[in-house]
Subunit: 233 residues, 2 copies
């Protein structure tokens, strides 16, 4: 890793003399998106023991010279091809038996991305094949790998909370969007209907009107908006 001084060496000898075995550290990533008015998460089917055939969150081991965030970026890139997407740390899971093979401590991260971005980058293989409805994944009868159901449940709650007081919902939107579209996303994330007028009052400082509108629909056109980058929650 780096050059070693004398004092350091003492410590390292003392510590590394493997009186202890070290746990492994992985990052598990929950890549959320909204497809067909449904909140979905990227999952992969396990091909090996344990939980063979079960769905699991994508994860990677953290390299010795790699930060947690770099590991997340690597994982996201491998899974989706995307490079610059929003993510945040969720929670660190450290029960001893969470993986039956060996001791693995998992630092979980939530990523959020629009379905448009996700589709644009997934060249070979349809990304939709890896998208699973979150509410399905949370059903008790659905056996997921490891403690991943618990992790998804935790993330689902965090999303519900943060949508209320932050602007994370915008991560699910394309650059230009309509307010009815944005409202629908809020409703999906919060899992409850909202009043149009109240919703618009609340999010008005977060958005900027453009001069474009929808067209072709058999009803009044809807203005396109972009996110107001000035806005701070």
């Amino acid at each position: 890793m780096k050059k070693t001084t004398l004092e350091e060496k003492e410590f390292l000898q003392q510590y590394d003399s493997s009186a202890f075995e070290k746990p492994s550290v992985a990052v598990d990533v929950l890549i959320f998106t909204i497809e067909n008015d449904t909140l979905k998460v990227v999952m992969v089917e396990r091909k090996e023991f344990p939980y063979k055939g079960c769905l699991a969150l994508p994860g990677v081991f953290v390299g010795i010279d790699e930060s947690l965030e770099d590991a997340v970026k690597r994982g996201v890139k491998v899974e989706t091809g995307l490079t610059d997407i929003y993510f945040e740390q969720l929670y660190t899971w450290g029960e001893v038996k969470r993986d039956p093979r060996m001791r693995i401590i998992s630092v979980s991260y939530m990523a959020m991305v629009s379905i448009e971005q996700l589709r644009a980058k997934s060249k070979n293989g349809n990304i939709s094949d890896y998208l699973y409805p979150v509410e399905e994944m949370l059903k008790a009868e659905n056996e997921l790998a490891f403690d991943h159901q618990q992790i998804i449940a935790y993330a689902r709650e965090r999303i519900k909370n943060k949508v209320e007081y932050s602007d994370i919902a915008f991560n699910f939107m394309p650059a230009k969007f309509t307010l009815p579209g944005l409202q629908k996303v809020y409703e999906i994330l919060l899992d409850k209907p909202l009043y149009k007028a109240n919703f618009r009052k609340k999010i008005s400082p977060m958005v900027l009107e453009t001069d474009e509108s929808t067209s072709g629909d058999a009803h009044r056109p809807s203005k396109y908006y972009v996110k107001n980058q000035e806005y701070r929650p």
Copy 2:
């Protein structure tokens, strides 16, 4: 750790054949209390390289057969003698160079405890010697070990936020307390003065009146209250 099946063995050989070196995992604990109307945190002076002489958060390495929470309990017990105190996970710090000696990923936890509890258990050695004012620790000119100033700053923000919508403030209180006393704690945690009448309206569902009062003071006595265990935030 456990008996190993054939399939597992393959995985373990593959993974453990130390193509990779593993990071170490530690938990760092922020033990908060309020002493003399000041928010304080338990810190220890480092006796060795690196950051020799600097203050550091107490931490322990996570054992291979020890959950993160068990490691926290062990750390808290060593540092304070206390066993059943409130704590919650804060954040996991994984920058590669955060410790110059070696790669250490630190899972930080916040613990909160009343000064009365802290004093009761600390038999040998005065616990006050390890209590440092949080606001002092956050001053730019104060050099703390590793990224511990950043961790404290993060925790300080989290406390400010959570005090508003949870009941964490009660962890700093003894079993019986007065409302003026509780208000003072809220004011310290939020770092701003509160209106008496409004404060009482807000916390009234969280507390239960007892039939005891303060006495001996040259002013109207104050009722003692206990926490309402029914209350859910």
